[in-house]
Amino acid sequence: MLELKNIHKKFGELEVLKGVDIAVEKGDIVVILGPSGSGKTTLLRCINFLERADEGSLHFDEIQTDFTKASKKDINAVRKKSAFVFQNYGLFDNKTVLDNVTEGLIIGRKVPKKEAIETAIRALEKVGLSDRLAYYPSQLSGGQQQRVGIARALAVNPDVILFDEPTSALDPELVGEVLQVIRKLAEEGTTMVVVTHEMTFAKEVANRVIFMDQGVIVEEGTPEDIFGNPKEARTRGFLQRILARA
């Protein structure tokens, strides 16, 4: 349902993405692994047109476009069908927790207010935050902010959710719960692309794992393949060092 081909992205002369291809089927949970600075965030941002890729094409259900040429209409359509969970939470500073979550529903999708609030509260319950409805982001702990970000994405019930390290600020207990939520979403058919450093999660939930390094996809496969039998030296090195630690 979502297919990107040959994405290139440069910042100045620094080429951050050097021709990345990625294809996601409906209901997939694709996990992207990779060292810091390898271009994972940039890739997600390109998919959502928060960054304009320099080259490459995108095919998302009926939308078929080139990154360089994409029209406003295409971009809006892509954004309507997807949601993004930011690495730095990216909550609306001037809105309460509840308003952060209802915003995309009431304004973006014209859901009636009452219904939107119900949906929002349900989403916030899933991440254990229904007792902080009237708080502003500045009054929340790091983990709480991150969970609001997740709830905000869940609430709009998009076809694809792009998660950028959705559990980085969470304690292991919550990580478990959030991953549970993600798993359940997947069962309900939501497609997800997840950048994460949680190997356990990658192993357990992903049906595809992509290993990126220095702007290219080094290796791609099922969790079993990647973790059990990595082909590339770089992947092996990465995994070894992790396993050595654990």
Partner: protein
């Protein structure tokens, strides 16, 4: 209705003599006002009890009363009062001999302080609290945290408004003519009166202000560009790309550092 170009030229030459006065009238108050305005902004931002309240009343009063009233007070009432005081203390000082430009300085300074304090207050609003906290946490004193981290960031949002205020101040210095100060407008108007050449005079005033205000605008534009480098980010060159392996040679390291430094200094 024709414009007498020869006459324009004639006035222009006379008016040029008023430029130093005009510049003095704008920039002396501006320079004096900057620190005070900033202190008021900080006092209001930090909500320092008495100080915040007093400065709020000050700002509101100065902004809220017509300049002409302030001129009346400074130029007419104040010297009278000082004269009475000086006399009653038995001093022999000629209050009325004071060059009226000083009263103009006072009026414009008081106004500029009020206006700029709001400019700064709004600029401080744009800085994320965490920036201040981070600075304090690495052991900077509050003063250092402000001067090195908070103010440079606040200035980015302040420069366009500082430019507005400076240009406005420059243009409003013409009111100093009320106090018999001979700025460019004064000269042009005096010249115009004889033959009723107001068109030509205003044209000259316009030309001079275009030049002066343009200089001010260029200055602030460059300042803004420079201050906001961090928002746009540094230009990335091929040289800095992906040389992941740390180099342990002192010289190479320094060279690389200087290459980096040069680009933003």
């Amino acid at each position: 209705m024709t414009i007498d170009l020869a006459y324009v030229q004639e006035i222009l030459i006379l008016v040029l003599k008023g430029i130093p006065t005009t510049l003095r009238l704008a920039f002396i108050p501006l320079l004096i006002a900057l620190p005070f305005a900033f202190l008021i902004a900080v006092a209001r931002q930090q909500n320092i009890k008495v100080l915040a309240r007093v400065s709020q009343i000050y700002v509101s009063f100065i902004r809220g009363t017509p300049l002409i009233v302030q001129i009346l007070v400074m130029y007419s009432l104040l010297p009278s009062l000082l004269n009475v005081l000086v006399k009653s203390w038995g001093l022999d000082y000629d209050i009325f001999g004071i060059n009226p430009i000083y009263y103009a300085y006072i009026v414009f300074t008081l106004n500029t302080i009020a206006i700029l304090s709001e400019v700064f207050r709004s600029a401080l609003e744009t800085v994320d609290k965490r920036q201040l906290e981070a600075a304090l946490s690495i052991g900077l004193l509050p003063v250092q945290a402000y001067s090195r981290i908070v103010i440079p960031q606040a200035l980015v949002a302040a420069t366009p408004n500082l430019c507005n205020s400076t240009v406005n101040l420059l243009k409003s210095t013409s009111l100093a003519f009320l106090m018999s100060v001979q700025d460019i407008t004064a000269i042009a108007k005096t010249e115009a009166a004889f033959g009723y050449n107001y068109l030509e005079s205003y044209l000259v005033i316009f030309i001079v202000y275009i030049v002066l205000c343009s200089l001010v605008q260029v200055f602030f534009q460059l300042l803004e560009q420079r201050l906001s480098v961090y928002k746009r980010g540094r230009k990335i060159t091929a040289k800095s790309e992906n040389d992941k392996q740390p180099e342990y040679f002192e010289d190479a390291r320094k060279e690389r550092y200087h290459a980096g430094i040069e680009e933003y200094s």
